[in-house]
């Protein structure tokens, strides 16, 4: 495929998936404290990228296999470096190897690594360790109502941006006296400014009109108060974007009654967890929404709601949509837009067919059937058969 044809293809397919086209590019006026755009690592040998793949637990390995299968079928110029992380091991060697691999390659696709919460606090959550070590400060999830998926609400299009490294997930806990435990929630000015800036930049790039900060500053006056203050400060540098704030319990109530009112939402770690899961549930469940974790130097892609899916592992009933859409986000990140759009279009056409729906969508389809259907869709409309 020539470069020109790739550009033409991506240009033609882009409007299909981006419902709002940018109004026009405005030069960012706000104070930049860090690199504004991350450049993907250059392609290695012969134009092929190397991406770290961490299969994880539960349904992770089978979905990772399907991603590899699909990429091979579409001749995507990506090689996967598979790093297995054994969640039953108490030593942190596995996760450190994975982190080193991601540092080497710059990008990763991962499944969720299970955390046994009955183990003592010295055993930290592997996923959390990965995020904090690589400073993947923004967790972004784009929840859109998909055609062909029946839900209680329609026309949802929300981007949730969640601070990924501090807040309630600092894992700083201690038992002062037996029976009294303190857990620290840390909010810093630098990280709050950083995530707020990321949110507004993303909103501007995607042509979004409104950013809502979710908080509980009426109770946690200092902590969430600081977060809110930082958001307001950053908002002043983006006059074309409306900024408002909402308390988290009211937010969840509004999300289940009128989710169409939300556009982009930015919040600290724990509220982000709650709100992004509610949004994912509203558009059809954990099997449909991809998630991305962005840092200054690295990017890791996974399913949006980070479920292990232990109960449905190895039964060929998992919904591969979330993982495959995450791989499309990965391709977009590597600037392989042509492949990304092609795969995405095929996934959306497959989802529309309710006969192929897996159990989480109320159907009886299997994972392999869905992936096969996606590959068939690519075959029939893909570049092999398309005239340039």
């Amino acid at each position: 495929m020539t470069t020109r044809s790739v550009r033409a293809l991506s240009g033609a397919l882009k409007p299909l998936f981006s419902p709002r086209s940018p109004q026009g590019y405005v030069v960012a006026v706000c104070h930049q404290t860090h690199k504004s755009t991350y450049t993907a690592p250059p392609a290695r040998y012969g134009g092929r990228h190397t991406v770290t793949l961490i299969p994880g637990d539960g349904i992770g390995p089978e979905l990772a296999k399907h991603v590899c299968e699909l990429f091979r079928f579409c001749c995507v110029p990506v090689d996967f470096e598979v790093v297995n992380v054994d969640s039953t091991e108490t030593s942190e060697d596995d996760i450190n190897n994975a982190i080193m691999a991601i540092r080497r390659n710059g990008v990763a696709l991962k499944g969720n690594i299970e955390t046994n919460h009955n183990l003592p606090p010295s055993y930290k959550s592997r996923n959390s360790l990965l995020r904090t070590t690589l400073d993947l400060y923004a967790s972004v999830m784009h929840c859109q109502s998909l055609p062909g998926v029946r839900t209680q609400h329609r026309n949802i299009d929300i981007i949730t941006i969640r601070e990924n490294t501090e807040g309630e997930y600092s894992s700083l806990e201690h038992e002062n006296v037996p029976g009294v435990v303190e857990s620290l929630k840390i909010i810093t000015r630098t990280k709050s400014l950083r995530i707020a800036d990321y949110a507004f930049r993303t909103a501007r790039e995607k042509g979004r009109r409104r950013v809502t900060a979710v908080h509980k500053a009426n109770i946690m006056k200092l902590g969430d108060g600081l977060f809110l203050e930082c958001c307001k400060e950053v908002a002043s540098g983006y006059p074309e974007i409306t900024f408002d704030s909402m308390i988290v319990d009211n937010t969840t109530m509004q999300l289940v009654s009128r989710p169409q009112q939300f556009d982009v939402m930015v919040m600290p770690n724990l509220y982000g967890n709650v709100v992004s899961n509610v949004c994912a549930g509203l558009v059809g469940g954990p099997g449909l929404v991809p998630g991305a974790n962005y840092g200054e130097n690295y990017a890791v892609f996974e399913t949006g709601t980070r479920n292990t899916g232990k109960s449905i592992a190895n039964r060929n009933t998992a919904n591969p949509t979330a993982m495959l859409l995450a791989s499309c986000l990965l391709l977009d990140h590597l600037k392989l837009h042509g492949y990304a759009s092609m795969i995405r279009k095929a996934i959306l056409s497959t989802i529309t067919d309710s006969r192929l729906h897996t159990a989480d969508l109320g159907g009886k389809g299997s994972t392999s059937e869905m992936v096969q259907s996606i590959m068939d869709a690519i075959q029939s409309t893909g570049p092999r058969t398309q005239r340039h």
């Binding site: 435990v181 857990s183 929630k185 840390i186 999300l255 509610v278 549930g281």
Partner: protein, 394 residues
């Protein structure tokens, strides 16, 4: 009073430090007042006698706090409905505004405190918290004064008030005194703030046992503990341990554990899979409002706060709505359903069922509804419709 005493049981056992404990339980019946009850003597203990009395059709006094904004009018509506239902309740109205007590500490007026301590049961309308008044919110003051440790919110779908979710029937029980809302925050250095989430064994044990007790008393099949112990290992781990220990004592109630994010995810897809949920403060705040949203919002959600020493205050959780105050437009459903919850708590199930049925039937009928429910009737008309329905039932 002339009463007959029967010895039911003598229970001898050894407590954890090896001292012998003897319990005697007597049941008595009073011929004159028609009331009966049981007396338990526990020795050696500080509170040697525990007396529980069930008055037969005796009028009980309840402290009523009308509140601000639409509070007075919805309280009047509830009083009227209770009168029409011939419920054996006498209302004692009290006002709560923060006053400075000796030592400069903010407290509720002493007559309100006295009334609540005497009556043990209270019904409260919405209270406003003036910004920059210098004192903490009234709800917080009440919580601290009576040690209201459990917030119970039953969320049941209301027929006639359509929401995208049908057949919701769950109860959220939230720990109300500690957790993330401990209020302990400090600025470490400029730009770094630390908020402390406090979890104690005692509070977790108390809420867990209350949750199972509630499930048993209200014929609920299962209790689910909601937590984030994969991340907050020590704090939520402690909470979870206490829930597991309580589950051991209540084998007739099924116990499950679920992560907070999984609960949120499943709640918006299929809320019918949940029964009773028990959780620490913050998760409880978020989830209880989420569930209220599923059934139609705070205007139709009842709520009860259970405290130590048998105190229970039932309340409506919506705001004071100052824009419609005094205009006879308010919807008394939330306060009414909270009052029904109160009746059930007091054991007056017959009256509770009557009032609840009348309320739901009126809403289902869709003829007389207040504005927020989709109609254009006045509060007084809605109240009258419910009263009329109850008269027709007799």
């Amino acid at each position: 009073m002339f009463s007959v005493l029967f010895l039911i049981s003598i229970n001898k056992q050894q407590n954890s430090v090896g001292r012998k404990k003897i319990d005697f339980c007597f049941i008595f019946f009073s011929v004159v007042t028609g009331s009966w009850g049981y007396i338990k003597f526990e020795r050696p203990h500080q509170c040697a006698i525990k007396l529980v009395c069930f008055p037969a059709s005796q009028i009980q006094t309840v402290t009523l706090i009308p509140g601000d904004g639409i509070g007075p009018e919805i309280s009047n509506a509830v009083m009227k409905i209770f009168e029409a239902a011939k419920a054996p309740i006498r209302w004692e109205e009290r006002n709560v505004t923060a006053i400075r007590g000796p030592g400069g500490k903010w407290m509720i007026p002493p007559d309100a405190k006295e009334s609540m301590d005497k009556n043990k049961i209270g019904l409260k309308g919405p209270l406003k918290t003036p910004i920059a008044a210098g004192h903490p919110s009234m709800n917080l003051l009440l919580r601290k004064t009576f040690d209201l440790y459990a917030n119970v919110r039953p969320c049941v779908s209301i027929e006639g008030y359509q929401t995208p979710y049908t057949d919701v029937n769950l109860v959220t029980i939230r720990e109300n005194t500690e957790g993330e809302y401990s209020g302990i925050e400090h600025v470490i250095v400029d730009g770094v703030v630390q908020s402390i989430k406090l979890i104690t064994e005692q509070a977790s044990k108390r809420i867990a046992e209350y949750a199972f007790e509630y499930a048993r008393n209200n014929q609920r099949a299962s209790v689910t503990a909601v937590h984030k112990a994969n991340i907050m290992r020590m704090s939520d781990g402690l909470f979870l341990r206490k829930c597991r220990e309580a589950a051991e004592k209540y084998k007739d109630v099924k116990f499950t554990e679920m992560y907070l994010d999984t609960v949120c995810l499943n709640m918006v897809q299929d809320p019918t899979q949940f029964d009773v949920l028990v959780m620490p403060n913050l998760y409880g705040d978020i989830l209880s409002d989420l569930c209220a949203g599923l059934i139609g919002g705070l205007g139709v959600t009842p709520s009860g706060n259970i405290g130590a020493n048998g105190v229970a205050i039932f309340e409506s959780v919506h705001g004071t709505a100052p824009d419609i105050a005094g205009k006879d437009l308010a919807n008394p459903t939330a306060l009414l359903l909270s009052a029904v919850m109160m009746l059930r708590h007091m054991g007056l199930h017959g009256h509770a069922k009557k009032i609840e049925t009348a309320c739901f039937d009126t809403i289902r009928d869709r003829k007389v509804l207040t504005k927020d429910l989709g109609g254009n009737s006045k509060c007084s008309e809605f109240t009258e419709a419910i009263c009329q329905r109850m008269k027709d039932m007799d």
